[in-house]
Symmetry: C2
Subunit: 347 residues, 2 copies
């Protein structure tokens, strides 16, 4: 029944010529925006479906509204980190404006990630892609460039040599702000529960931490690598708190690890912030739900995802897009940070 | 350059006839699985790309590997609830097996949700859809049936009248287990911080709670509705704890609200579990990262998402799929639940 609605019927209802309907429904120039909208409304009302020929034409033109996102993480781990879902929700906020869609895949490794992009691009299912979890000399950048896929990376241009459109946050500046704040409170022994050292932004933070600590004359800070999971964050915190030179403050590379760190401090009978200061990263809602609430380097991850999507659509529609820094995370001081107390007895 | 690779070259490299290559690359019967794989490998190696004709054929055949998922929630809220990302990660685990994809949209309301489905289906971008957040007499079910979209709902068949393939968890049985456990510990005044009362599973839990409490001779339990956010969970907990007849145990409809409840108890100077027992729902990693760890109705949300995806592919490929119950959530008792202490002084 749907197939029987003709262009002519749509034209009659909209009060225009069949030619105008054809232009409007095929997104071609030649009709005004208000007429286009009236025609669309008429087509919608009648349940008009494009003919196979028109559909094939659309397929040839390529999808101009679908973003590809492939994430190389075990599926089970993805649900546990607020970062990705907030990033995706930011992308979706832009897709909502333009009625676009997100094509999402989780894969095991970079090769598979490239293969998925190749297949999506070959089948014209995406207009472009956003790359996350950038590494130094990331294989994907060249691979996607060779395929001709419009690409925006969420990562520091220092990692890409400026060869691709990028959105990024200034991780060095954020680390420096966190450490300066703790130093001002009187902390001299600061440690960090970091992320995956293979990732570019983790390495940037590690370097920045060492540099600012040296500059401020603090003890050389320890960075313990993790896989970003809460369990790994708990384990790293236990290790740091059980060490001979226990830190008086710990900076975490995300928020779920900081939540785990807070629980480990309680396990050890340490009072936060009197015995130990904690600073989280990313600052999802989680940080405001603990007691005490977690001080955090507050990062608008939702806005970061939206910026990545906007930059990609600029690239797709205008064939170029300026790389754009996202706002630098800023310190949100809450109840988990304070001047260090007198050194408690050894545990 | 890619366009110049011919079927004949692929055939030569794979050591088969051009006809076999055509069958293999068009996913038609007539070649063995091992031959098909050899041909695919050869095509991959040579960088073979299907001709436009073949691509249009694939478009006409429709996407048989892409699942549509539309979620009606504000984009910002989505990042905060572990449930969705775990559910999606479960869907992705099935997509990984078959090299399928997920098309994801966040929308504001049900009408928009139906419009997105209509457009995806018209453009043959999905093979079927999974519906979440089912309501009583859900408009979407009839709309998608009318469009002819293979659909699986994640929700109790009691809400759909059995008109559509469903996967669901037995929320009544889970509520009963939680309440019987608390009653066995000696609790008589149990409250619940529930979800959105418009959702079917929220209503089912509310009814089950009242029924089992009456059966066990407990005080009539209060259910406070929320929007599932941590903030709303905190607010509801404060209200319950400040009331004249303070409950000795609270059941939460998700885990982020239970984490918030734990912090509110600390704010009020109440000790968990001596002064107040808490039971979370869904049981993401979060519940094991707090101190004390949260007792929870443990629900394999990842497995639930995988079951929904498998059921949908059954439906797409075999035109029918039995509705399938997911395992009932089971109690994971941890440090946040214990017998009620002596009634403390009023706060």
């Amino acid at each position: 029944m749907k197939e029987r609605v003709t262009i002519r019927e749509v034209a009659t209802l909209a009060g225009v010529s069949a030619g105008a309907v054809s232009l409007a429904l095929n997104d071609r120039p030649g009709v005004s925006e208000t007429t286009r909208q009236r025609i669309r409304a008429a087509a919608e009302q009648l349940g008009w479906v494009p003919s196979q020929a028109a559909r094939n034409l659309a397929a040839r033109a390529g999808r101009t509204d679908t973003i590809g996102l492939v994430i190389t993480r075990p599926a089970r781990q993805l649900g546990l980190e607020p970062f990705y879902m907030e990033f995706i929700s930011g992308i979706e906020s832009v897709l909502e404006e333009i009625e676009g869609s997100l094509l999402l895949r989780l894969v095991r490794d970079r090769e598979q990630e490239i293969a998925v992009h190749r297949a999506w691009w070959r089948d014209r299912r995406i207009c472009g892609s956003i790359l996350v979890d950038l590494t130094k000399s990331d294989l994907r950048i060249q691979a996607l460039a060779r395929l001709g896929i419009p690409t925006v990376v969420a990562g520091n241009p220092g990692l890409t040599g400026g060869s691709v459109a990028a959105v990024w946050t200034d991780d060095s500046a954020a680390v420096e702000e966190a450490v300066r704040y703790l130093a001002m409170l009187g902390h001299r022994r600061i440690a960090r529960v970091g992320g995956d050292p293979r990732l570019g932004h983790t390495a940037i933070r590690t370097r920045a931490l060492a540099a600012v600590a040296e500059q401020l004359g603090l003890e050389p800070p320890r960075s313990v690598p993790t896989d970003f999971s809460g369990q790994a964050g708990a384990r790293a915190t236990r290790m740091l708190l059980a060490s001979a030179n226990r830190p008086t403050a710990i900076i975490y590379d995300n928020d779920i690890m900081a939540v785990a760190g807070l629980a480990v401090a309680a396990e050890f009978g340490l009072h936060v912030p009197a015995d130990l200061s904690l600073i989280a990263w990313d600052d999802s809602q989680l940080c405001r739900l603990t007691h005490p609430a977690l001080s955090a380097m507050s990062h608008d991850v939702h806005g970061y995802g939206a910026l990545a999507a906007r930059t990609l659509f600029d690239l797709v529609h205008h064939r170029e897009a300026p790389s754009a820094p996202a706002p630098t995370p800023t310190l949100a001081p809450r109840g988990s940070s304070a001047p260090p107390g007198p050194r408690p007895a050894t545990h």
